[in-house]
């Protein structure tokens, strides 16, 4: 591949210049983008790790403290709470978004009238920013003037405090997340459903399976790799929850919605503890890696090849 067969007798020199030319040509194509991506990811990732071993307020000299920041995190109740809040949100959001996506995809995967309208209605919240979604949530779920409480009033149920109640705030955030993100899992499942060969479903029907059996015995196993994938994806997204919290509760009430990223942001950019903030960000990263790994291993064990 390096030198054309005919040219090989001419010796090494032309090959070398050709290689050099290819080298320069190649890197002119890929260089700028590579520089930006690597410069803004690998380099900061290494830097963040170094920071996490230091104590630094951004102004005075940094002091090396080794693993102290990590030790402090392990015994910081505020941080441990933020981990619990994040996991609570993950448990609320991930299964519901995967199931909602599966259900909506099955429902939308048919040719009936108005299907285009239904599809558009369900997908359009996806483009709304988390910031706007959060602000909208404060209005819809306002305890005094909100539409949701009005609906409860009309159907004769007691009104709730929603985002102002520590026990309900995270649930409201998960509901709004679902509203915005259901489109994503739906689209992925829809693509997977349309990839399933029709003969497979028809064969099952001929063998006497009803719709329910056909779905769970034939279609669902075919979707398994996609299920593993969207579960991992949504988990990683859920662990990084921030924007919605910022525009709904700012971590409150009583810190009930303070997530890991919120903790990272607060300790670094409010408390100016860049070292401590970086250490907590590394815990976040480790958590995403761990969860991804766990799901992959679990799916390998149960013989679902997704990767």
């Amino acid at each position: 591949m390096l030198v054309a067969p005919g040219a090989s007798q001419k010796g090494e020199a032309p090959g070398r210049t050709k290689r050099a030319r290819r080298f320069f040509e190649g890197w002119t194509f890929v260089g700028p983008a590579t520089l930006i991506v690597v410069g803004l990811s690998i380099f900061p990732a290494v830097w963040a790790f170094i920071l996490s071993l230091q104590e630094w307020d951004g102004f005075s000299d940094a002091t090396f403290v080794g693993g102290d920041n990590y030790a402090r995190l392990a015994s910081d109740p505020e941080f441990l709470d933020s981990v619990m809040h994040t996991l609570f949100y993950t448990v609320l959001f991930v299964p519901s978004s995967v199931l909602a996506g599966l259900f909506l995809a099955v429902a939308l995967n048919r040719r009936i009238r108005f299907i285009g309208i239904y599809r558009t209605a369900i997908f359009v919240p996806f483009v709304a920013s988390a910031a706007a979604t959060g602000i909208l949530a404060t209005y819809l779920f306002s305890p005094q003037f909100g539409v949701v409480n009005n609906v409860l009033r009309v159907i004769g149920l007691p009104q709730q405090q929603w985002l102002e109640d520590p026990a309900q705030a995270m649930v409201v955030i998960a509901i709004m997340s679902l509203w915005g993100q259901a489109a994503f899992t739906t689209v992925i499942y829809l693509a997977a459903l349309q990839d399933i060969p029709n003969e497979l479903v028809e064969a099952a029907r001929i063998d006497g399976a009803n719709r329910w059996q056909t779905f769970w015995r034939v279609v669902w196993p075919q979707l398994a790799p996609v299920t593993v994938f969207v579960t991992i994806w949504q988990m990683i997204e859920a662990i990084k929850l921030f924007d919605l919290v910022f525009t709904t509760t700012k971590g409150g009430p009583l810190d009930a919605t303070k997530t890991i990223v919120y903790f990272v942001w607060e300790s670094a950019f409010k408390g100016l503890e860049f070292g401590y903030g970086s250490a907590s960000a590394y815990v976040l990263f480790a958590l995403t890696l761990l969860i991804t790994l766990a799901v992959v291993v679990y799916s390998r064990r149960s013989k679902t090849e997704a990767f």
């Binding site: 194509f29 700028p32 983008a33 690998i42 599809r119 209005y139 009005n150 970086s278």
Partner: protein, 294 residues
């Protein structure tokens, strides 16, 4: 992967079914009773948002709230324009997303092509490095990036919001996948006709890449337009606020002035909603692709 995208993309158009389904069309499918209420639930928040934006302020601090506003008024929008720099924020976001999309189109297609087609020393290593960065969450990188940008003097400028969106690992990956899927023969023909690499890239390959560039642009638009946490960290100067940062900041000052908050929301969300309605197929392709990259 391409086949999947096609399948999703095509179906919205083909809802008028062929002959075998004729009989079905007469009776109403039971799925309407499932889908119509769900669709309604998804749309109601938007409807509420728009109605609040158009309501007189005092009707929004009543309970129970009126079902529809008594009069349609633009006073909220007028007050919003008078008391905030919302047009500036909008302009800033348009600049950020515009530059991001242009830079993505140029840099990511160049890099994607280089990684897909050219053979040079360090190619595989470079690509592996880029793909490995997809796992790194922005939240891990934001503290050092903030320090780096403040040393470069980018903090509090629009540049801080733009630079991380000049090129992304996902964009490079997407374009590489696309270029791998087009036949080499086309380029070889160009080579025989005496085209240079650059000629081949600009005259033959890039014109073929329009669908991939649409996906790339939508991905970049969604990410750069909707980002909150990074502008929140990097920009404190109200003159350089992006739209999302602007409304988030404004919310802090105007807790329950729903009319104002919702009219701000409408302006922040509307551009992408309109885009979505016109290019739904491309948006869905983008979502499918970003899902299938793993």
């Amino acid at each position: 992967m391409v086949a999947t995208q096609e399948a999703v993309g095509v179906t919205p158009q083909t809802s008028t079914a062929a002959a075998p389904r004729k009989r079905r069309r007469r009776r109403i499918s039971g799925w309407h009773f499932v889908l119509a209420p769900i669709a309604l639930v998804f749309v109601i928040p938007f409807v509420q948002m728009i109605m609040a934006a158009l309501s007189p302020a005092k009707e929004l601090v009543q309970f129970p709230p009126p079902f529809i506003p008594s009069t349609v008024t633009f006073e909220n929008f007028a007050k919003l324009f008078a008391t905030t720099n919302i047009l500036q924020w909008l302009m800033n976001s348009i600049i950020v997303s515009g530059v991001a999309i242009l830079a993505h189109i140029v840099l990511c297609s160049l890099a994607g092509y280089g990684f897909a087609r050219l053979k040079f020393h360090g190619r595989n290593m470079g690509f592996l490095l880029i793909v490995s960065t997809i796992m790194l969450p922005t939240q891990l990188l934001m503290i050092p990036t903030y320090i780096l940008f403040s040393k470069l003097g980018l903090i509090n400028t629009l540049g801080a919001a733009i630079v991380p969106w000049l090129a992304t690992a996902f964009g490079i990956f997407l374009m590489r996948q696309f270029f791998l899927s087009i036949p080499v023969e086309l380029e070889e023909a160009g080579m025989l006709d005496g085209c240079t690499r650059w000629g081949i890239f600009f005259r033959i390959v890039l014109p073929l890449a329009k669908p991939a560039l649409a996906t790339l642009s939508i991905f970049t638009l969604l990410g750069s337009w909707n980002d909150l946490i990074w502008p929140l960290i990097a920009i404190n100067d109200p003159g350089s606020f992006t739209m999302q940062l602007g409304i988030a900041n404004f919310q802090g000052a105007r807790q329950t002035e729903w009319g104002l908050l919702m009219s701000g929301n409408v302006i922040a969300v509307l551009p992408l909603v309109v885009f979505f309605l016109f290019a739904q197929k491309q948006f869905i392709q983008t979502m499918t692709f970003s899902g299938l990259k793993g």
